[in-house]
């Protein structure tokens, strides 16, 4: 069932309308590919640490020893990891699944100090530019990148955002989810400031930290990947409360935050809960508006994982009550094993929300995502 992809010498002059923007997709470096982009002083240090190092995984997705938490059909034939081959990603996500524009979100961890975290982001951004967003690998003009920023080092992160902000294919700032304290702390203001000055949304992706930033719950550690991953939404729920109650959106009225892969159904009761406490204790926090209004104007969630009850009507009702067309951006999470197919997602959304969630909201949030792209003969168009 695969579509043979011969890379055309010239791109079609015909254009097609963007109908699916995938806001969560993960490129990863081929073995050794990131190293040349690291600041020189860290190259041997990182390589030395990696020498003799095995798997660091301790909350394992199902059948991990065979799947590595990936779609098992997404590993390229050259033996590199899933998500490392721009051509395979293009074939599986653009041609076969029918996503039109892909917002790449690389998750290269590895730093231990704030300086190291920052160095990894510098390398990751330069690597995206050279290996994914360049005219050879992005010949189809479907890839957009993320300016990865180290929240451990807010001033350096702000400089990194400024450095890449003019890039025609960098569409958002990307930060990790687990750092303490929560996003309402003023120490992060330089990042919000740099992002809003450049009209970039800030996306937050879960990635697993260490120790009490694993994340660790207020009642200790979960036992399995199942309870850990489901409870990850509690971290995002707290970040939403922190952003709202700590006044970040009053300090940065243009800030747009995208929570990636944290699920979203919890936003509905969370908004009620925040509004209820605000009604009782509002003046204490100096907020100018009701918490749910900040959420609808400033916060986005990506659709994957799309969790539903047995009775799909309940899901539809919940989407309507939360006004999901003001909150959601489609995402696939390719090549992770939790991949959601765009056609499958679309058919579970209320008719009047489908276009907004599948692409229109993304065109609004990501300023440099075009509404038309060069056509690709043979590309699937999800209905």
């Amino acid at each position: 069932m695969t579509i043979e992809m011969q890379r055309p010498k010239t791109l079609s002059t015909e254009t097609t309308e963007v109908r699916v923007v995938d806001s969560d997709i993960h490129p990863t470096p081929k073995r050794g590919e990131l190293t040349p982009f690291l600041p020189a002083k860290f190259r041997s240090l990182f390589e030395n640490r990696a020498t003799g190092a095995g798997s660091p995984v301790y909350y394992d997705a199902p059948d991990f020893a065979h799947s590595f938490a990936m779609r098992t059909d997404s590993f390229p034939a050259d033996g590199n990891f899933a998500g490392s081959d721009p051509d395979l990603m293009f074939r599986q996500v653009v041609m076969e699944a029918g996503c039109d524009v892909l917002i790449l979100g690389p998750l290269n961890g590895g730093g231990q100090t704030e300086e190291e975290h920052h160095a990894v982001t510098q390398a990751t951004n330069a690597w995206q530019d050279a290996c994914w967003l360049d005219s050879e690998h992005n010949w189809h003009q479907r890839y957009r990148g993320s300016i990865v920023a180290a929240m451990e080092h807010p001033e350096a992160a702000a400089r990194e955002i400024e450095h890449w902000a003019g890039h025609p294919c960098m569409s958002q700032v990307l930060i990790g989810a687990e750092l303490r304290p929560a996003w309402g702390d003023p120490q992060y203001d330089p990042v919000w400031e740099a992002a809003t000055r450049n009209g970039l949304p800030v996306a937050c992706h879960l990635g697993r930290g260490q120790h009490n930033e694993l994340p660790m719950s207020p009642v200790g550690f979960m036992t399995y990947n199942h309870d850990l991953m489901v409870s990850y939404s509690m971290l995002a729920a707290n970040q939403v409360m922190s952003l709202v109650f700590d006044g970040v959106f009053d300090r940065f009225p243009d800030l747009q935050i995208v929570f990636i892969e944290h699920a979203f159904n919890w936003l509905l009761p969370l908004m009620w809960r925040m509004d209820a406490v605000h009604a009782k204790r509002g003046p204490e926090n100096g907020l100018k508006r009701k918490p749910s209004e900040y959420v609808k104007d400033h916060i986005w969630c990506t659709t994957q994982p799309l969790d539903m009850p047995e009775d799909k009507l309940e899901f539809t009702r919940a989407l309507e009550w939360m006004e999901a067309d003001k909150l959601l951006l489609f995402s696939s999470d390719y090549p992770h094993w939790t991949f959601d197919d765009p056609q499958w997602v679309r058919k579970h959304l209320p008719l009047h929300m489908q276009d907004k969630i599948m692409y229109q909201n993304a065109l609004e949030v990501f300023k440099n995502v075009p509404s038309t792209v060069p056509a690709l003969p043979g590309q699937k168009r999800p209905l």
């Binding site: 059948d63 779609r71 094993w337």
Partner: protein, 113 residues
């Protein structure tokens, strides 16, 4: 569709029947056929791995063991498992995959689709 010696025990072959193809599986000499399509999100089911079911076994270290090794197919996307013989699953019997009758006639494996 295939000959018996083309599909050794533990192996399978995807044959071009229908829109997605049909996977023919040999589990210890018994043959099963399933649609190469996961009813969940449409993943290519036969690219997945077969293994057994995890069951509680207090006698084994860790308290669990694998039973009925090789009798279940797990989708390569979301790791949903289905029993090859019946197409169904203990967790949610209503989520099932399509299965096809298979018989062995001489050295031929015949799938009725």
């Amino acid at each position: 569709m295939a000959t018996v010696d083309e599909i050794a025990p533990g192996e399978h072959k995807v044959v071009p029947i229908g829109r997605w193809g049909v996977g023919v599986y040999n589990v210890d000499g018994r043959f099963y056929a399933i649609a190469n399509y996961c009813p969940h999100e449409g993943g290519p089911l036969c690219s997945g791995r077969t293994h057994g079911l995890t069951v509680v076994d207090p006698e084994r270290p860790g308290g669990a063991a694998e039973s009925r090794a090789g009798e279940f197919i797990y989708c390569p996307w979301h790791q949903w498992g289905f029993e090859l013989a019946t197409g169904t699953t203990a967790v949610k019997p209503e989520w099932s995959i399509r299965t096809y009758p298979v018989r062995v006639q001489g050295s031929d494996v015949i799938v009725t689709a």
